[in-house]
C-alpha cells in the first residue's frame, strides 16, 4: 500500500512538469514579444532592457527551467500589465474567493445530489425517479448563465431577498453558490443513481435478501457502501466543472475570484498572469486527481494494481 501511494505521488511530478511545459509553449506561441503589441512604439534599447528584465532574451530551455524553478518555489513572476504587482499577489488576493465559492458549491452538490441519486435509484422508474431525473437532466442542459440570470431576476431584482452581485456578506453568496452547484449536483445524482442500480443487481444483494435481511439494512450496509465508493472518482471531472462554471458565475455575479480575473487578464493581454493561473489550476486538478486515486486505492484495494 505504501508503495502504491509513493508511486502515485512521484508520478504527479512528471505530469506537472509536462503540463507546465505545454502551457509554457502555448504562451510563447502567443507572445513573441509581449511588448511589441503595446500602443506606443518602444525604443529598441528599452525593448532590450524589458526583455532582459523578464528574461526573454535567454534561450527557451533556460526560460523554461527558470519558470519551473519559480513555480516550485511558489513564485509565479511579475504581472506584465499591472506594474509592481506579482502574479502571486493576484493569486493570493483572488484565489481564496474562488476556493470558497467552489467549496461551498461542492458541499451543496454533495448534500443534495447524493441523496437525490439514492432516492431516485430506490424508486427507479416511478414518479419520484422521473421528477428527480428530469431535474438532473435540466440542470445538466440549461446553461449556467440562464440559471444565474433567472435567479437574479427573481430573487434579487423582484423579491429583493438577495443582492444582485458581490462577494461580501453571507447573503451575497447564496445565489452564486446555488448556480455553481447545479452542474456538479446533477452529475452526482446521475452517477449515484447509476451505481446504485448496478449494485442492486449484484448477487450479494440477492443473497442478503434471500437470507432474510431487512431491506433497510441491505440498502445501508451492502448497497450504499458499494455504490458510493465509485462516486468518489467523480470528484476529478467535477473539479473541472467547477473551474469552467466559476468563469461564468464569477463574471455574472461580479465576484472577485480567479475565473473573473482570468478573463480580464486575457482581454488585457497580461499573459504572465494568464499562464500563472493556468498552471495553478492545472496543478490543483492534477493533485486532486492524485488524492482521489489514492483514496480510491484505500477504499477499493482491487484498483491498486490497475492504476499507477
Amino acid at each position: 500500500m505504501l508503495k502504491f501511494v509513493v508511486r502515485r505521488v512521484l508520478w504527479t511530478i512528471p505530469i506537472i512538469l509536462l503540463v507546465i511545459f505545454m502551457t509554457f509553449w502555448m504562451m510563447r506561441a502567443i507572445k513573441g514579444s509581449p511588448f511589441r503589441k503595446s500602443e506606443r512604439a518602444v525604443p529598441a534599447a528599452v525593448l532590450a532592457n524589458l526583455n532582459r528584465k523578464f528574461g526573454l532574451d535567454k534561450p527557451w530551455y533556460v526560460q523554461y527551467g527558470k519558470y519551473v524553478e519559480n513555480v516550485a518555489t511558489f513564485d509565479l513572476g511579475p504581472s506584465l500589465v499591472l506594474r509592481n504587482q506579482d502574479v502571486n499577489d493576484i493569486v493570493k488576493q483572488h484565489f481564496p474567493v474562488s476556493a470558497q465559492l467552489g467549496g461551498l458549491a461542492m458541499l451543496l452538490a454533495i448534500v443534495v445530489g447524493v441523496p437525490l441519486g439514492i432516492l431516485s435509484a430506490l424508486r427507479a422508474n416511478r414518479v419520484t425517479d422521473y421528477i428527480a431525473m428530469l431535474f438532473a437532466n435540466l440542470g445538466f442542459a440549461v446553461p449556467s448563465f440562464l440559471v444565474a440570470t433567472l435567479l437574479i431576476y427573481e430573487f434579487a431584482a423582484q423579491l429583493r431577498w438577495f443582492p444582485t452581485n458581490g462577494w461580501t456578506s453571507a447573503d451575497t453568496k447564496v445565489l452564486p453558490v446555488i448556480t455553481l452547484s447545479l452542474g456538479p449536483l446533477t452529475y452526482f445524482a446521475r452517477i449515484v443513481r447509476g451505481q446504485m442500480l448496478e449494485t442492486l443487481q449484484q448477487d450479494y444483494v440477492r443473497t442478503a435478501k434471500a437470507k432474510g435481511l431487512r431491506w433497510k439494512r441491505i440498502v445501508v450496509v451492502h448497497v450504499l457502501r458499494n455504490s458510493l465508493i465509485p462516486a468518489v472518482t467523480a470528484a476529478g471531472p467535477l473539479l473541472g466543472f467547477l473551474v469552467t462554471g466559476s468563469f461564468i458565475v464569477e463574471n455574472i455575479f461580479a465576484i472577485p475570484g480567479i475565473g473573473r480575473y482570468y478573463v480580464t487578464s486575457v482581454q488585457g493581454r497580461d499573459y504572465s498572469t494568464v499562464m500563472g493561473i493556468t498552471v495553478l489550476l492545472a496543478i490543483l486538478i492534477i493533485v486532486a486527481n492524485m488524492i482521489v486515486d489514492i483514496l480510491y486505492g484505500f477504499l477499493d484495494p482491487r484498483t491498486r494494481d490497475a492504476r499507477t
Partner: protein
C-alpha cells in the same frame, strides 16, 4: 422490490436471439445487418429516444429553413420595431435594434450547431486516431501515449480554449472549432483504446492474423468498423459539450463577436438587458438546452440499443 428497468428488454433481446438461432438452424440465410436492425428496433421502442430524435431534427430544420423563408433582414436596424414582445409576425419578439429574434436565433443556431458538429468531428478524428494507435500498437507506445493522456486528463477545457484563441489572435468559425477541440478529446481517446484492445482479443481477429492479414487490413477491416457503435454514441455525447463551450466563450465575450451571432453571443446580448427584457436571454438559452437534452437522450437511447447489457457511466 426494485427491478432493473432493463430486465424486460434484456429478456426480449434474448428471445429475439433464440429465434434467430432457430432460423439459423432451419438453414435460412442470416441477414448481415441483423445487429443494426436489432438496434434500430430497440431504439424505436425507446420512447424517450424517439422523442429526442424528433426534437433534434426539428431544431435542425428550424435553423436550416427559417433563414430562407423569413422576410426580414437579420442585421437591419429599425428602432421603431425595437423590443416588440412575441407576436405572430415576430414569434420570438425583437431586440433593442428591432431585429427579429426568430430569425437571429436560427442564424445563431447555424453557427452554434455548425461549430458543434465540426468540433465533434475533430474530437472524433483525433480521439479515434490516438486511441486506435495506442490500443493497436500496444507495448511501450501504448504505455507512453496513455501516460501522456493521464497527464492531460481532467484539465478544464475553458482556459486552454481561451489561450488557443489568443494564439490565433482572431476569432472565427474554424479557430473556435480548434479551440474547443484542443482539450476535449481525452475521453474519446481513452474509450477508443479500450474498445480496440478488447476487440483485438476476439477470435476472428486472431484468425485474420493467422491467415496472414496485414496490420492495416486487421485495423481497418476488422477493428475500426466494429467500434462504429461506440463512435456514434460518442458523437452525441460530445456534441453538447462543444455547443456549451461555444456558448460559454461567446457569453464571456471571448468567442463569436457582432455582427455575427451565435447562441452564446445572443445570450450575452440578452444578459445586458435582462432586467427590462428577460425574454432575450431566455430564447437562445432554451435553444441550447433543447439541443443538449435531445443529443443526450439520443446518446442514451443509442447506448442501450447497441448494447443492452452494459450501462456505461454517463
Amino acid at each position: 422490490m426494485v427491478l432493473n428497468p432493463r430486465n424486460e428488454e434484456v429478456r426480449e433481446v434474448t428471445v429475439a436471439r433464440e429465434q434467430e438461432d432457430q432460423t439459423f438452424a432451419a438453414g435460412a440465410a442470416i441477414s448481415q445487418t441483423s445487429l443494426w436492425r436489432d438496434a434500430a428496433r430497440r431504439f424505436a421502442h425507446n420512447r424517450g429516444a424517439v422523442i429526442a430524435i424528433a426534437a433534434f431534427v426539428l431544431m435542425l430544420l428550424y435553423v436550416i429553413i427559417v433563414p430562407w423563408v423569413m422576410p426580414y433582414d437579420p442585421n437591419a436596424v429599425d428602432f421603431n420595431l425595437a423590443y416588440i414582445s412575441p407576436t405572430w409576425a415576430h414569434p420570438f419578439g425583437t431586440d433593442e435594434f428591432g431585429r427579429d429574434l426568430f430569425l437571429r436565433t436560427a442564424l445563431g443556431g447555424r453557427i452554434s450547431i455548425g461549430i458543434g458538429f465540426a468540433g465533434t468531428v475533430a474530437i472524433m478524428v483525433v480521439g479515434i486516431l490516438y486511441g486506435a494507435i495506442a490500443g493497436f500498437v500496444g507495448g511501450w507506445v501504448d504505455n507512453a501515449l496513455m501516460r501522456f493522456l493521464d497527464a492531460l486528463y481532467g484539465l478544464p477545457y475553458l482556459p486552454f480554449a481561451i489561450i488557443t484563441l489568443a494564439i490565433f489572435g482572431t476569432v472565427n468559425f474554424w479557430t473556435m472549432v480548434v479551440a474547443l477541440t484542443i482539450a476535449s478529446w481525452f475521453t474519446t481517446a481513452r474509450v477508443m483504446r479500450g474498445q480496440i484492445i478488447s476487440l483485438k482479443e476476439n477470435d476472428y481477429v486472431r484468425a485474420a492474423r493467422a491467415v496472414g492479414a496485414r496490420w492495416y487490413r486487421v485495423l481497418f477491416r476488422h477493428l475500426l468498423p466494429n467500434t462504429l457503435g461506440v463512435v456514434i454514441v460518442f458523437v452525441f455525447l460530445e456534441l453538447p459539450g462543444v455547443v456549451l463551450g461555444e456558448a460559454f466563450l461567446s457569453f464571456l465575450g471571448l468567442g463569436i463577436n457582432p455582427p455575427k451571432s451565435s447562441w452564446g453571443s445572443l445570450a450575452q446580448d440578452g444578459y445586458t438587458q435582462y432586467l427590462s427584457h428577460p425574454y432575450i436571454i431566455v430564447i437562445p438559452s432554451v435553444a441550447i438546452a433543447w439541443l443538449i437534452l435531445s443529443a443526450f437522450f439520443i446518446a442514451d437511447g443509442l447506448r442501450e440499443a447497441l448494447d443492452p447489457r452494459t450501462q456505461a457511466a454517463a
